[in-house]
Amino acid sequence: MNGEPLLTVENLGVDFRVEGAWRPAVSELSFSLGGRETLAIVGESGSGKSVTALAIMRLLPGASSRVRGAIRFNGQTLSSLSDEAMRTLRGDAMTMIFQEPMTSLNPVLTVGFQIGEALVYHRGLTRAAARSEALRLLERVKVPAARQRIAEHPHRFSGGMRQRVMIAMALACKPKLLIADEPTTALDVTVQAEILELIKQLQTEEGMSVVFITHDMGVVAEIADRVVVMCRGEKIEEGNAKKILLSPRETYTKVLLAAVPLPGSMRGESRPKPFDLGDTGENVAPIMPDPSLPLLVVENLVTRFPIRSGLIGRITARVHAVENVSFSIGSGETLALVGESGCGKSTVGRSILRLVEPVGGAVLFEGRDMLALAREPLRAARQRMQMIFQDPFGSLNPRMSVGAAIAEPIIVHGLANARQAVDRVADLLRKVGLTPDMASRLPHEFSGGQRQRIAIARALALGPKLIVADEAVSALDVSVKARVVNLLMRLQAELGLAFLFISHDIAVVERISHRVAVMFLGEIVEIGPRAAILEDARHPYTRELISSVPTPDPSRRTFRRAVETKEAANSLRAVDYRPPRREYREVGPGHWVGEF
C-alpha cells in the first residue's frame, strides 16, 4: 500500500426511517481498503454489511435513509459530490454486483445491450462499438458460445451464467473498486466455486480492489486478504484473514466459524455431534439407531412432471425429478439427502408424504405401502410422518395464532379436546425451547429461528416417528441455524425420531447425519455412512460437490483450481426418453456407489 488507500470509510453511520422513527442500521464503522486488496465484510442478516456497501455506492433511498461520516474514494469525498458526478463514478471507477442473479438483470433487454450500456455512458462508445466490446467481456467471463448468447435475454441464462453476465457488466469500464454483495449466496456450491475462481482471476489480471460481502467464513477463506466482522451494525473484529480464521478473538466470530465444515473435524466420530456454541443449552448425546429396524423403506421411487404446451395441452416433455430412488431409514436414524438445486431431493421428500404423487415405486412406512393408501387412510397415516419446511416465514399461516396452529392438528385428528390441547401446546412449546405464553401471539411477532421452532412443535404435535426436514435450516442465519440443528438432535434423542434431512449444506449434514445419500439429476449416485461419503467419496460428482464446499482454511486464498465452465444440467427430458437402469456396487459396509 503506497500513499492514500483507495477507499476509506470513517465513522460511517446509516439510519433508516421505520414507521416515523430513525433506526440505526450501521454505526461508527471505519475501515480502509488498499489497491489490489480484497476486504471481506462478514456478518449475518441485519449486521449492516449490505447497507454499508450501498452507502459507499450512494444507492440508498434518499427519503428514508440518512448517512453520516466520511467515505473517501480515490481522493474524493463521495458525500460532497453532486448526483451527476456520483453517477459518472458509478459503473466506471467503482462498480457493484448483487446477490440475486435471477432478478438483477433487466428481463426485457439483451445481455449484450446491458453489458455495453456502461461503455456508452462512461466512454461515449457507439452502440456497435459497445456491442463488440460486450462480446469480448462475455468471453472474458467465460460464457460459452458468447457470440450467439450476446443477443439473448437474461431468462435464457442459468443463475451462474447470469452472475457471470453481472461480472462482465461490472468490469466493462475497468473499475478500480468492485463491491460484491453476497454474489454467490444464491448459487449452488459447484457454481459458487466457479464464480469465486473467476473473481479471483479477474482481480489479479485487472488489478482492482474488491469489497466482498458475505456471511460465509468458508468464502472468506477463499477470497479475502483482510476481514471486517460486523454484528448489529457495528464492527466487532478486524484483521488479516489468516489471523481471523485461525485465531478469532470474539465469540461471535467463533460461532460464524463453527458453521463452516472443517475437513477432518468429524474424523473418528461415529455419531452425530451437536455444534459447539460455547454453552450447554442443547447438548445432548446423540443416539445410534438400530439398523435392523427399518422405519421407512423407499424402493425404486419415480416421480415425473409432465410439461404441457400447445393448444390442447399435449405433453411435450417431462421433468424426471426422481428416478429409481431407493433407500431406507431406521428408527431414530438421520439420513441426509444432499445435492444441488434441481436434483430432485425435495421431490423425494414430498413424494414420500404424497404431497406430490409419484408415478412408480413403493414407499413402505412401518410396513405399509403409502402409495397404495386411499385418501382417508392416507390422512391417518400422515400422523406418523411429518414435514418441516425451508421458509420460516411461509410455513405458518400469518392469520392464525401460534397456539391455534399447533393445536389444529391435534383437534382435527381427535387426539384431544380443545382444553387438553392447550396443555399439549404448552408442552410442545417448552419442548422446542419456547415458552407457553407465546401461544397467543401471531407468527409475525417471532424471528426466523423462533418460527422454525414453532413449525417443529407443530410437526411434533401428532407424535410422528419420521420427520422429513426439507432444507429446514437453510434460510436461517448461521448462529441460529446451529441452535436449531442442535434442537433437532436433542429431539431425536428424546423422542427416538427418524429424520430424512434434505439439505445442500454440507456443514450441517456433517453434524446431524448418521448416513448420507447424494443425489444428482434425480438419481442417488452414492449412499453410505456419513464418514464414508464425506471422507472417502467414490463417485466423481460426490467428490466435486465436497471439494467445492468452502472451508475456513486460509491457504485456499492463494489456491487456484482449474474450474471448467459448465452449463447447468437439468432433468428435463423428451417424452420418449427411457432412463437407463443404474447399477450400484458396494464399496464398503453399507456404502453403495452408482456406476459412472
Binding site: 455506492m57 444507492l59 427519503a63 453517477r87 459518472t88 463514478l89 458509478r90 459503473g91 466506471d92 462498480t95 457493484m96 448483487f98 440475486e100 432478478t103 438483477s104 438483470l105 433487466n106 428481463p107 426485457v108 433487454l109 450500456e117 456502461a118 455512458y121 462512461h122 435475454h153 431468462h155 435464457r156 453481472m166 457488466m169 461490472a170 466493462a172 404446451s309 400447445g310 393448444l311
Partner: protein
C-alpha cells in the same frame, strides 16, 4: 413467437365459436316468438307460420344451428326483422364510426395516461403524485355519459366551439371537430385508468433489483426510468390497454347517444327496443369479433414487449 401466435389464434377461434353458440342458444331460449314480435299481435296463424318458414324457424334446432354458423362465417347474417335490409350491411355502415371513436379515445388515453403515470410513480408521495392520483381517481369516477354531458354543455352549448351533433365527415377539419368531444369524453376516462395502471406498474418495476443494477453502472436516471423501467412496465400496461379497448367499444354506446353520433351503440339500443333479433345476433357477432381481434392485437404487442413470450 410462432407457437405463441398459433396458440392465441387457436384460442381466438375457440372464443368466437363459443360465443356464437351462446348467442344462438340465448336467442332461442328467450321468451317471445320473433315472428309474433315482427307481425304484431293481430297477425294470423298462417302469416306467422309463413314467416317461420322464411326465417327458418320451422326446422330442427340442429339444422338451424348449422345454418346460423355457416351463415355467420360466410357473411350471410340475414335480414333485419325491422327494416328488412341485410344485417351485415347495416352493421358495416356504422362499424367504422365506433372503431374510429374507440381507437382515437384509446390513443388519447395512452398519450395522456402513460406519461402522467410514469411521472407520478417517479415522484411518488410528493405533491405532483398526489395531484395526479386525485385527478385520475376523479376521472375514473366519471360515468362516461356524465363526462360527455359536461363536455357537451361546456364546449358545444356554452362556448359553441364544437357541434352539438357530431356526425360529420369529409375534410380533416370537419372530422376533427366532430370527433373531438366524443373522443375526449371517452379518452379522459381511458387516460385516468391508464395513469393508475402505469403508476402501479412503474412503482413495481422501479422497485426491482435490475433498476438498482442499472443505477449502479451509472446509467442516467432519465434512461433508467424511460428505458429500463418503462420497458418492463409496458407489459402489464399493454394487457390492460387491450382489455380496456373492448370496454371503450362498449362505453361508446353512451357517447353515441349523448352526441347523436352513429355507431354500433345506437344500432344496438334501437335493435333492443324493437326486438330486432337478427340484428341483435349480428351485433353480438360483430362485438365478439371486435373483442377477439383486439385481444389478438394486444397479445401480439405483448409478445413483442416481453422476450420471455417471444422465445416460446
Amino acid at each position: 413467437m410462432a407457437a405463441f401466435l398459433t396458440r392465441r389464434i387457436g384460442l381466438a377461434f375457440v372464443t368466437l365459436f363459443t360465443v356464437l353458440t351462446l348467442v344462438f342458444f340465448i336467442m332461442r331460449v328467450l321468451p317471445g316468438d320473433p315472428a309474433q314480435v315482427i307481425l304484431g299481435d293481430q297477425a294470423s296463424r298462417e302469416a306467422i307460420e309463413a314467416l317461420h318458414v322464411r326465417l327458418g324457424l320451422d326446422q330442427p334446432l340442429a339444422a338451424q344451428y348449422v345454418r346460423f354458423l355457416t351463415g355467420a362465417l360466410r357473411g350471410d347474417w340475414g335480414l333485419s326483422m325491422v327494416s328488412g335490409r341485410p344485417v351485415l350491411g347495416e352493421v358495416m355502415k356504422v362499424l367504422p364510426w365506433t372503431l374510429e371513436l374507440s381507437a382515437v379515445s384509446l390513443a388519447l388515453g395512452v398519450i395522456l395516461g402513460v406519461p402522467l403515470g410514469v411521472w407520478a410513480a417517479v415522484r411518488r408521495n410528493r405533491f405532483l403524485d398526489y395531484v395526479i392520483r386525485a385527478g385520475s381517481l376523479a376521472g375514473l369516477s366519471f360515468p362516461a355519459f356524465v363526462a360527455a354531458i359536461v363536455l357537451l354543455l361546456l364546449f358545444a352549448i356554452e362556448l359553441r366551439w364544437f357541434p352539438v351533433i357530431s356526425a360529420r365527415r369529409g375534410s380533416l377539419g370537419a372530422w376533427t371537430q366532430s370527433i373531438a368531444l366524443p373522443a375526449l369524453s371517452l379518452g379522459l376516462n381511458a387516460a385516468a385508468y391508464l395513469t393508475r395502471v402505469t403508476r402501479s406498474a412503474m412503482l413495481e418495476a422501479l422497485s426491482e433489483d435490475y433498476i438498482r443494477t442499472a443505477t449502479a453502472k451509472g446509467v442516467p436516471s432519465r434512461i433508467v426510468i424511460w428505458r429500463h423501467a418503462l420497458r418492463n412496465a409496458a407489459i402489464p400496461i399493454i394487457t390492460v390497454a387491450g382489455l380496456y379497448l373492448s370496454t371503450l367499444i362498449g362505453n361508446s354506446v353512451l357517447t353515441e347517444i349523448v352526441f347523436s353520433r352513429p355507431g354500433l351503440g345506437k344500432l344496438i339500443v334501437g335493435a333492443l327496443s324493437q326486438r330486432d333479433y337478427t340484428m341483435l345476433q349480428g351485433l353480438m357477432v360483430i362485438y365478439t369479433l371486435c373483442v377477439v381481434v383486439v385481444n389478438l392485437i394486444s397479445d401480439l404487442a405483448y409478445g413483442v414487449a416481453d422476450p420471455r413470450v417471444s422465445y416460446g
